[in-house]
């Protein structure tokens, strides 16, 4: 079991519990062992479990979602290549190891380590503390407004459109999984995705919550 938030942090101001990024992550020792030996399935589990941590790291350096994705991919490839450097005896501090590695890789990718404090020499605890402060946050008002707009939009959808919306957009299931669960074809999935995205873009409340007042009037819902 790995519990990253149980690390002894010498700096009280960087209490990891402040952010969900460095939340309690549990991963079996055996999984890390398999990951170190090069098991892709174990690697997938690591990526799923520690994705938020790496995402949190790249969020501090890049604004664009595309850049963040590219940087994350670079970091994960770096982690995969250097997996043998992982000390399994210190498996409990895996998140710290990963945080240091992610931070160093971010700086390498930027190639602009002007600030000595960013030079990647942080300890595991410092790196975790650095990640503990959220890079971007949505105000609760904005979040509530958007959540309400999406909820109303979904409420007006008829079955099976609502089911598709939940499975694909909310739960992130890909076409194959949605096909299997709803008993529809891939082509139908694509059609439903396109139609729902178009309707959502025409939904004035959603677009207003996204800060896009130029959105067309709600004509679909």
């Amino acid at each position: 079991m790995l519990e990253s938030d149980t690390l002894k942090n010498p700096l009280p101001m960087t209490e990891p519990a402040r952010s969900s990024i460095v939340r309690k992550v549990e991963l079996a020792h055996a999984t890390l062992e398999r990951f170190q030996k090069g098991d892709p399935e174990a690697f997938a589990q690591v990526v799923r479990a520690f994705g938020p941590l790496v995402r949190g790291a790249v969020s501090r350096y890049w604004q664009s979602a595309f850049d963040r994705e590219e940087a994350m991919q670079e970091i994960w490839m770096h982690v995969w290549k250097h997996r043998e450097a992982l000390d399994l005896a210190r498996a409990a501090s895996f998140s710290g190891w990963l945080a240091v590695l992610a931070r160093r890789r971010c700086i390498d990718l930027l190639r602009e380590p002007r600030d000595p404090a960013l030079a990647g020499e942080a300890t595991e605890a410092e790196a975790l503390a650095w990640l503990g402060t959220a890079a971007e946050q949505e105000s609760s008002v904005e979040g509530d407004e958007l959540g309400e707009a999406v909820r109303l939009f979904k409420q007006k959808l008829k079955e099976p459109w609502r089911e598709f919306f939940e499975l694909h957009f909310e739960r992130g299931l890909d076409y194959e999984e949605v096909c299997g669960r709803m008993g529809i074809s891939r082509l139908r999935c694509k059609y439903m995705r396109k139609v729902l995205a178009m309707k959502a873009r025409r939904n004035a409340k959603i677009m207003a919550a996204l800060g896009r007042p130029e959105a067309k009037r709600d004509a679909a819902s």
């Binding site: 892709p40 690697f43 997938a44 990526v47 799923r48 994705g51 995402r55 664009s64 979602a65 595309f66 850049d67 994705e69 590219e70 994350m72 991919q73 994960w76 490839m77 995969w80 971007e136 946050q137 949505e138 904005e142 979040g143 958007l146 959540g147 999406v150 919306f165 694909h168 957009f169 909310e170 739960r171 992130g172 299931l173 890909d174 076409y175 194959e176 891939r186 082509l187 694509k190 995705r193 995205a197 959502a200 873009r201 959603i206 919550a209 996204l210």
Partner: protein
Amino acid sequence: MLHPSGRIDRYLAGDLDPEAAAKLRAHVAGCVKCRARFDEQVTFLRALAGNRTRPAPSEEARMVRRALEGAGPAPARPKRGLFEWLVDHPFAAAAAAAAVLLLLLGGGLFMMRGPAPAGRLVVASHVTLDGRAVEAGAPVPAGASLHVDEKGLAEVELARGGRVKVYPGATLRFDARGENVDLGLGRVWSSVEGGRGGYSVRTDRAVARVLGTSFVVERTVEGETDVRVIKGTVEVEDRQRRGKVRVNASQRTRVGRSGAPSAPRHYSSEGDLNDWERFFRDIGRAFERLFKGQ
């Protein structure tokens, strides 16, 4: 490269194969407009998932998928059908449909125009094609019945290469490109170029296939077919396939009403050559008389 906004959407839906996804990423990395489009789409999908600053579940899935693709064997993706491909590539599908339409139209026009001409008349005097009088320079359509009057003469330049002299009183048809001649009656002298495909002269009794370059085939009124070779070699076979002979230069063979081609025997081309020149002179004199009479 055009801005592939449709592909960005398909990428975010996890619907691009790794190669296409890599191409798209390479483009987006260097294209400000597409990067803005990508970011906007991601934010929009996050909003639909409930929080525009928190990654949507589909983003998490993409992160895992990409990591696995980079680490080694990626999970196999289902193959897409042709119809799905057409739906995903509307412009390519439209282009393909346009190409097919053009081909059909082209084929239709070709059919309306009829088959390719068998050749062109380079000499024509008292010649009819399907009953209509024609002059030198007229095309000879494949399948048309070419008839030379007893006072006439014709020479056809074949589309396949080579020439056919048509003697007075002959009736014949050409196949497409002039590769086969169906001789109903009369005499033809074929001078065809070798190495340009097959060539044969057929009568109701025999088939003379060219292996060389110059030969005369005459279908007499009595029903005999006489094949005389001036240059090269011709293979002659009766239509009932009872026998086949190879006739070399300065040889001739006859195919009677019943029986295989006769054994080749000596032949002098002077007679045919003189006949052709005589016909030419006769036509010249006829023209002279015509002009003097005027």
